[in-house]
Protein backbone atom coordinates (compact mmCIF):
# COMPACT_ATOMS: atom_id res chain seq x y z
CA UNK A 1 0.00 0.00 0.00
CA UNK A 2 2.10 2.91 -1.15
CA UNK A 3 0.69 6.35 -0.38
CA UNK A 4 -0.91 4.75 2.66
CA UNK A 5 -0.10 7.98 4.38
CA UNK A 6 0.30 11.01 2.18
CA UNK A 7 3.18 13.16 3.29
CA UNK A 8 1.80 16.65 3.79
CA UNK A 9 3.77 19.80 3.03
CA UNK A 10 3.50 21.40 6.45
CA UNK A 11 4.80 24.86 5.54
CA UNK A 12 2.39 25.09 2.62
CA UNK A 13 -0.62 23.98 4.63
CA UNK A 14 0.23 26.39 7.44
CA UNK A 15 0.75 29.22 4.95
CA UNK A 16 -2.63 28.57 3.35
CA UNK A 17 -4.47 28.11 6.65
CA UNK A 18 -4.80 31.85 7.22
CA UNK A 19 -7.80 33.50 5.49
CA UNK A 20 -5.98 36.77 4.85
CA UNK A 21 -3.08 34.97 3.17
CA UNK A 22 -5.50 32.87 1.17
CA UNK A 23 -7.18 36.02 -0.10
CA UNK A 24 -3.84 37.67 -0.76
CA UNK A 25 -2.75 34.69 -2.82
CA UNK A 26 -6.01 34.74 -4.79
CA UNK A 27 -5.62 38.45 -5.51
CA UNK A 28 -2.02 37.93 -6.61
CA UNK A 29 -3.10 35.07 -8.91
CA UNK A 30 -5.75 37.30 -10.49
CA UNK A 31 -3.35 40.19 -10.96
CA UNK A 32 -0.55 38.00 -12.26
CA UNK A 33 1.97 40.15 -10.44
CA UNK A 34 1.96 42.65 -7.61
CA UNK A 35 3.91 44.67 -5.08
CA UNK A 36 3.08 45.11 -1.41
CA UNK A 37 1.72 48.57 -2.30
CA UNK A 38 -0.57 47.45 -5.16
CA UNK A 39 -1.80 44.47 -3.13
CA UNK A 40 -2.50 46.56 -0.03
CA UNK A 41 -4.62 48.86 -2.21
CA UNK A 42 -6.76 45.91 -3.31
CA UNK A 43 -7.24 44.36 0.14
CA UNK A 44 -8.48 45.55 3.53
CA UNK A 45 -4.99 44.96 4.92
CA UNK A 46 -2.17 47.39 5.68
CA UNK A 47 1.01 47.40 3.61
CA UNK A 48 3.18 46.17 6.53
CA UNK A 49 0.73 43.27 7.06
CA UNK A 50 0.85 42.45 3.34
CA UNK A 51 4.66 42.37 3.52
CA UNK A 52 4.52 40.02 6.50
CA UNK A 53 2.06 37.66 4.77
CA UNK A 54 4.05 37.73 1.52
CA UNK A 55 7.08 36.67 3.57
CA UNK A 56 5.22 33.61 4.88
CA UNK A 57 4.03 32.72 1.36
CA UNK A 58 7.56 33.20 0.03
CA UNK A 59 9.08 30.91 2.67
CA UNK A 60 6.47 28.26 1.82
CA UNK A 61 7.48 28.48 -1.84
CA UNK A 62 4.01 29.68 -2.88
CA UNK A 63 5.18 32.98 -4.39
CA UNK A 64 8.36 34.10 -6.09
CA UNK A 65 9.84 37.57 -5.73
CA UNK A 66 12.10 39.63 -7.92
CA UNK A 67 13.42 43.13 -7.56
CA UNK A 68 13.07 45.75 -10.28
CA UNK A 69 14.65 49.01 -9.22
CA UNK A 70 13.27 49.93 -5.80
CA UNK A 71 10.25 47.64 -6.14
CA UNK A 72 9.88 44.03 -5.10
CA UNK A 73 7.38 42.28 -7.36
CA UNK A 74 5.65 39.05 -6.37
CA UNK A 75 4.10 36.33 -8.46
CA UNK A 76 2.25 33.10 -7.58
CA UNK A 77 4.32 29.94 -8.01
CA UNK A 78 1.76 27.54 -9.58
CA UNK A 79 3.86 24.37 -9.32
CA UNK A 80 3.83 24.45 -5.53
CA UNK A 81 0.06 24.99 -5.40
CA UNK A 82 -0.55 22.17 -7.83
CA UNK A 83 1.66 19.84 -5.79
CA UNK A 84 -0.32 20.72 -2.66
CA UNK A 85 -3.64 20.18 -4.43
CA UNK A 86 -2.40 16.76 -5.57
CA UNK A 87 -1.35 15.87 -2.02
CA UNK A 88 -4.74 16.78 -0.61
CA UNK A 89 -6.39 14.70 -3.32
CA UNK A 90 -4.05 11.82 -2.42
CA UNK A 91 -5.05 11.97 1.25
CA UNK A 92 -8.74 11.96 0.26
CA UNK A 93 -8.23 9.09 -2.18
CA UNK A 94 -6.42 7.10 0.51
CA UNK A 95 -9.50 7.40 2.76
CA UNK A 96 -11.85 6.34 -0.04
CA UNK A 97 -9.67 3.28 -0.59
CA UNK A 98 -9.46 2.41 3.12
CA UNK A 99 -13.23 2.67 3.56
CA UNK A 100 -13.76 0.45 0.53
CA UNK A 101 -11.45 -2.13 2.16
CA UNK A 102 -13.35 -1.79 5.47
CA UNK A 103 -16.66 -2.34 3.64
CA UNK A 104 -15.35 -5.43 1.86
CA UNK A 105 -14.11 -6.90 5.15
CA UNK A 106 -17.31 -6.10 7.06
CA UNK A 107 -19.57 -7.58 4.38
CA UNK A 108 -17.54 -10.80 4.06
CA UNK A 109 -19.31 -12.58 6.89
Amino acid sequence: MSAAVADPEPAVFAALGDPTRWRLLGTLAQQGEGTATTLAALLPVSRPAVIKHLGVLDRAGLVTRHRTGREVRYRVEPARLEATARQIAAVATAWDRRLAALKALAEQQ
Binding site: M1, S2, A4, V5, D7, P8, P10, A11, F13, A14, L16, G17, D18, P19, T20, W22, R23, L25, G26, A29, Q30, G32, R75, V76, E77, P78, L81, E82, T84, A85, I88, A89, V91, A92, T93, W95, D96, R98, L99, A100, A101, L102, K103, A104, L105, A106, E107
Partner: protein, 154 residues
Amino acid sequence: MAVQNNRIESEVLIAAPVERVWELITRAEHLGRWFGDAGAEIDLRPGGAISLRWHDHATVHGRVEAVAPPRRFAYRWVLTGDPEAEPTPANSTLTEFTLAAEPDGTRVTVVESGFDRLNADAAERAALLDSHTSGWVTELDHLADHAAGVAAGR
Protein backbone atom coordinates in the same frame (compact mmCIF):
# COMPACT_ATOMS: atom_id res chain seq x y z
CA MET B 1 -14.75 12.20 -0.87
CA ALA B 2 -15.07 15.85 -0.03
CA VAL B 3 -12.42 18.39 0.73
CA GLN B 4 -13.63 21.51 2.49
CA ASN B 5 -13.02 23.77 5.46
CA ASN B 6 -9.56 22.28 6.00
CA ARG B 7 -11.10 18.84 6.47
CA ILE B 8 -11.06 15.78 4.35
CA GLU B 9 -14.27 13.82 4.63
CA SER B 10 -15.20 10.44 3.21
CA GLU B 11 -18.13 8.12 3.91
CA VAL B 12 -19.39 4.70 3.02
CA LEU B 13 -22.55 2.62 3.62
CA ILE B 14 -21.71 -0.86 4.85
CA ALA B 15 -24.21 -3.75 4.85
CA ALA B 16 -23.31 -4.87 8.36
CA PRO B 17 -24.46 -3.97 11.89
CA VAL B 18 -22.90 -1.03 13.74
CA GLU B 19 -21.39 -3.34 16.36
CA ARG B 20 -19.49 -5.32 13.74
CA VAL B 21 -18.15 -2.19 12.06
CA TRP B 22 -17.13 -0.84 15.47
CA GLU B 23 -15.03 -3.97 16.07
CA LEU B 24 -13.36 -3.58 12.70
CA ILE B 25 -12.30 0.02 13.25
CA THR B 26 -11.17 -0.34 16.88
CA ARG B 27 -9.51 -3.78 17.19
CA ALA B 28 -5.86 -4.20 16.31
CA GLU B 29 -6.27 -7.49 14.45
CA HIS B 30 -8.75 -5.85 12.06
CA LEU B 31 -7.07 -2.44 11.76
CA GLY B 32 -3.92 -4.23 10.67
CA ARG B 33 -5.80 -5.71 7.70
CA TRP B 34 -7.98 -3.01 6.16
CA PHE B 35 -6.04 0.05 7.32
CA GLY B 36 -2.43 -0.99 7.70
CA ASP B 37 -1.32 -4.13 5.90
CA ALA B 38 1.35 -5.25 8.39
CA GLY B 39 -0.48 -5.18 11.69
CA ALA B 40 -1.54 -2.64 14.27
CA GLU B 41 -1.51 -2.06 18.00
CA ILE B 42 -4.08 -0.11 19.95
CA ASP B 43 -4.77 0.65 23.58
CA LEU B 44 -8.47 1.44 23.20
CA ARG B 45 -9.03 4.24 25.70
CA PRO B 46 -8.61 8.01 25.52
CA GLY B 47 -4.89 8.73 25.78
CA GLY B 48 -4.00 5.17 24.73
CA ALA B 49 -1.30 4.54 22.12
CA ILE B 50 -2.11 3.47 18.55
CA SER B 51 0.38 2.23 15.92
CA LEU B 52 -0.35 1.27 12.34
CA ARG B 53 2.14 -0.65 10.21
CA TRP B 54 2.64 -0.97 6.49
CA HIS B 55 5.06 -3.29 4.70
CA ASP B 56 6.43 -0.57 2.44
CA HIS B 57 5.96 2.41 4.72
CA ALA B 58 7.21 3.43 8.12
CA THR B 59 4.99 2.66 11.09
CA VAL B 60 2.74 5.57 12.05
CA HIS B 61 2.18 6.27 15.73
CA GLY B 62 -0.57 8.20 17.41
CA ARG B 63 -2.87 8.57 20.38
CA VAL B 64 -6.51 7.66 20.89
CA GLU B 65 -8.58 10.80 21.49
CA ALA B 66 -12.15 9.56 21.89
CA VAL B 67 -13.85 6.19 22.37
CA ALA B 68 -17.67 6.12 22.54
CA PRO B 69 -18.81 2.62 21.50
CA PRO B 70 -20.29 1.97 19.06
CA ARG B 71 -20.66 5.48 17.60
CA ARG B 72 -17.48 7.51 17.74
CA PHE B 73 -13.76 6.79 17.63
CA ALA B 74 -11.03 9.40 17.15
CA TYR B 75 -7.25 9.46 17.19
CA ARG B 76 -4.34 11.72 16.26
CA TRP B 77 -1.46 10.40 14.19
CA VAL B 78 1.96 11.94 13.85
CA LEU B 79 2.79 12.97 10.29
CA THR B 80 5.83 15.24 10.62
CA GLY B 81 9.05 15.33 12.63
CA ASP B 82 9.92 12.57 15.11
CA PRO B 83 7.45 9.75 14.33
CA GLU B 84 7.35 8.66 17.98
CA ALA B 85 6.82 12.12 19.47
CA GLU B 86 3.68 12.90 21.46
CA PRO B 87 0.95 14.03 19.04
CA THR B 88 0.26 17.77 19.10
CA PRO B 89 -1.61 20.01 16.64
CA ALA B 90 1.81 20.97 15.20
CA ASN B 91 2.86 17.43 14.24
CA SER B 92 -0.36 15.44 13.80
CA THR B 93 -3.81 15.42 12.25
CA LEU B 94 -7.05 14.33 13.91
CA THR B 95 -9.09 11.49 12.41
CA GLU B 96 -12.68 10.95 13.59
CA PHE B 97 -14.89 8.00 12.74
CA THR B 98 -18.65 8.32 13.22
CA LEU B 99 -20.94 5.29 12.87
CA ALA B 100 -24.67 5.65 12.30
CA ALA B 101 -27.19 2.80 12.08
CA GLU B 102 -29.33 2.88 8.94
CA PRO B 103 -32.04 0.51 7.66
CA ASP B 104 -29.52 -1.05 5.23
CA GLY B 105 -26.57 -1.20 7.58
CA THR B 106 -24.06 1.28 8.94
CA ARG B 107 -22.99 4.62 7.57
CA VAL B 108 -19.35 5.33 8.36
CA THR B 109 -18.10 8.89 8.10
CA VAL B 110 -14.42 9.67 8.50
CA VAL B 111 -13.06 13.20 8.85
CA GLU B 112 -9.36 13.99 8.91
CA SER B 113 -8.55 17.56 9.92
CA GLY B 114 -5.75 19.80 11.14
CA PHE B 115 -3.49 19.93 8.07
CA ASP B 116 -3.36 23.70 8.28
CA ARG B 117 -1.81 23.63 11.76
CA LEU B 118 1.00 21.23 11.00
CA ASN B 119 4.34 22.81 11.87
CA ALA B 120 2.79 26.20 12.44
CA ASP B 121 4.81 27.98 15.10
CA ALA B 122 3.14 29.19 18.29
CA ALA B 123 2.20 32.62 16.93
CA GLU B 124 0.85 31.12 13.73
CA ARG B 125 -1.25 28.67 15.71
CA ALA B 126 -2.70 31.40 17.90
CA ALA B 127 -3.65 33.36 14.79
CA LEU B 128 -5.20 30.26 13.24
CA LEU B 129 -7.23 29.50 16.35
CA ASP B 130 -8.58 33.05 16.30
CA SER B 131 -9.58 32.98 12.68
CA HIS B 132 -12.52 31.23 11.15
CA THR B 133 -10.54 29.65 8.44
CA SER B 134 -12.02 29.75 5.01
CA GLY B 135 -12.43 26.70 2.88
CA TRP B 136 -9.17 27.10 1.08
CA VAL B 137 -8.67 23.55 -0.03
CA THR B 138 -11.78 23.45 -2.21
CA GLU B 139 -10.43 26.35 -4.18
CA LEU B 140 -6.84 25.19 -4.47
CA ASP B 141 -7.31 23.53 -7.81
CA HIS B 142 -9.02 26.55 -9.30
CA LEU B 143 -6.38 28.86 -8.00
CA ALA B 144 -3.58 26.63 -9.28
CA ASP B 145 -5.22 26.45 -12.72
CA HIS B 146 -5.75 30.17 -12.76
CA ALA B 147 -2.18 30.90 -11.68
CA ALA B 148 -0.83 28.48 -14.30
CA GLY B 149 -2.93 30.22 -16.96
CA VAL B 150 -1.72 33.63 -15.93
CA ALA B 151 1.88 32.43 -15.93
CA ALA B 152 1.49 30.81 -19.37
CA GLY B 153 -0.20 33.88 -20.82
CA ARG B 154 2.73 36.17 -20.35
